[in-house]
Symmetry: C2
Amino acid sequence: MTADVNKDRLWNSLMTLAEIGGTAKGGVRRIALSDEDKRARDLFCDWARDAGCDIRVDSIGNIFARRPGRSPDAAPIATGSHIDSQPAGGKFDGAFGVMAGLEVVRALNDAGIETEAPIEIVDWTDEEGARFAAGCIGSGVFSGHRDLDKALALSDSDGVTVAKALEDIGYAGPEPAGSSRFGAYFEAHIEQGPILEAKGLPVGAVLGAQGQRCFVMTVEGVDGHAGTLPMAKRQDSFVGTAKMTVALSELASTYDPPAVITVGHVRVMPNSRNTIPGKTIFTIDSRHPDAATLERMEADMTRICQEIADASGLTLGVEAVTRAEPIVFDENCVEAVREACRKRQIRFMDIHSGAGHDACKVASVAPAGMIFVPCVDGISHNEFEDARPEDLAIGTQVLLDSMLAYAS
Amino acid sequence: MTADVNKDRLWNSLMTLAEIGGTAKGGVRRIALSDEDKRARDLFCDWARDAGCDIRVDSIGNIFARRPGRSPDAAPIATGSHIDSQPAGGKFDGAFGVMAGLEVVRALNDAGIETEAPIEIVDWTDEEGARFAAGCIGSGVFSGHRDLDKALALSDSDGVTVAKALEDIGYAGPEPAGSSRFGAYFEAHIEQGPILEAKGLPVGAVLGAQGQRCFVMTVEGVDGHAGTLPMAKRQDSFVGTAKMTVALSELASTYDPPAVITVGHVRVMPNSRNTIPGKTIFTIDSRHPDAATLERMEADMTRICQEIADASGLTLGVEAVTRAEPIVFDENCVEAVREACRKRQIRFMDIHSGAGHDACKVASVAPAGMIFVPCVDGISHNEFEDARPEDLAIGTQVLLDSMLAYAS
């Protein structure tokens, strides 16, 4: 029992969807619960109904499009992602996962396959977090990571709440969020990184998502006149920050597998050309797939920064702002993805996700796995985000085969 | 023939002057050509007239208060500094030099000394550069470093020109700026650095002022996702900037005498916690008293930064924004200061000025020298700027003796 995905149909659906909120540079601006999001949701629902699906919407706006199975009571085998985008986002982040789900249903229809368990495509509400300053709202509520009422009360910069925005676009559904359960959940997504492309592989079997520790570091020294204060007498917070940044960057490569450590936000005070900076605030974003290593990284990073501060006559403040534990996907789901590749002789590799995804939330309430496909130059969250039609089709085929293994 | 300065009179004059524009924190806000500057100028003129001086004002608002000598045609031996302050400045920067000049005249009067050459006290217009975005306006025009008409046309953030501001406060004088010449010029000033205080010395004989080279450095790499881009694939402009900053800081101590190199202004783009910075712009302020060394520093700094950029896959743009050559004060003026110290058994050291002063401008049209006195903790351009009455008196005594050596 097999079904083959249609590469051109998948690509055409993605390109048609990308017209909604399409930007001049070829990207997409489809902010969650905006008019563009509504039109894209409507289009998805139309297509899913045309493909024989029943549509349900839950109280946080998640859309469930179900292709019935022989056993109506069996937990559905689900897939999905999100239709919302970054303010200047691309055509593939999220949209690929939803359109891949639609292609799975269409291909099953073409092949005349009736599965035992239902197949369900989900469009999760607001994964990007670009409007309400909180990401994975829909999948977070569904999986119990977020409280429904608190999520509905989140407001955007104009004071519009999630509840009001859902009503405005007609997607405040009657189904209690989180009342349905999945037999398994698979999500197809572009990698958003350069690894698959560099290795020339069309598929990554995602083992899990890296855990994350973020810190705000405050380095305090003493302001001084850039002309009159000798180097030996300085307590230069920015020179200290520079030493810490170099040390953190070197530290990252000492872990196995390699960690990532990023100093992304830096604020120098007073930030005047002829004044020695008395105070610098910077952020550390550190990620690793292993919880114990992440713990060790935190200890190493704070120790190294403290040693530099002590040696430089600076004081150091460390504030932890994010502690997200690593996600480990279900071993059987991961193996189903690998097995689907093997059966079609598709070359693949095991990979960790550096970013968060809806699947990371769903993983706590259902067996979950992900399928990565390469994106051009690893670029994402950008209007120039791109992917090759053949890679997207291969990834979707692996998605179909993986789901079929569970739904048969 | 000697005259002794009066410590308490000097201190009281300084404290009375500091009431004009005095701030709650004990500092001074006396922006150039403001109402506070006018009132301080008026007070200085009143005091100088009371001490027997004739007042002249030139076309850029510089005030010359002359105590006549026996030879009315002899070039006057001049001293002075500025009465304007930083927006949140201290009681001593500039004000000390003008009040020291007044005390010299008063002490000569007390001692009944008539000098051969006239003694002249100058209050230079707008040394600080806090209002018209250009410093040393008065001494710059006087010495030919600035064009009079261009200086008069400079405008503040409200569009008020120097010409209009001078008229408004009644200090647009009739004397053509730069028409008078000095036999010599000595300026007393707080060090604005920590060296004299650290060495426990009341006087520095200033050899000259450091030259300055300032650069805007633009480091360009590639933006990336902090979670998905492996360290080895990054082109992180901020890690590059950090390496350059550490290397520049270490480089400074390799010169003899030690140079100062400061990274004071840093702008990281996009400056987001979870994005690898694709672009960083930072400034370098480098200073050294020797022109050849300054030249070598520029070459070393750009080479080191370029090497780091090349090794990190980054591009580097270097824009030179300031090239001020070192100032070397007149050897006889410097020796007069040293000799004045020796004769009164005042401990002193030779020192370079890290900051610019009116004397640095005047040095190109008259033999010039400076006398530094310690300031508490090296702090200046700050409301907490402070100095000890005894140090100020000792510095003023050295000023008097140095001037007398020339004026006798």
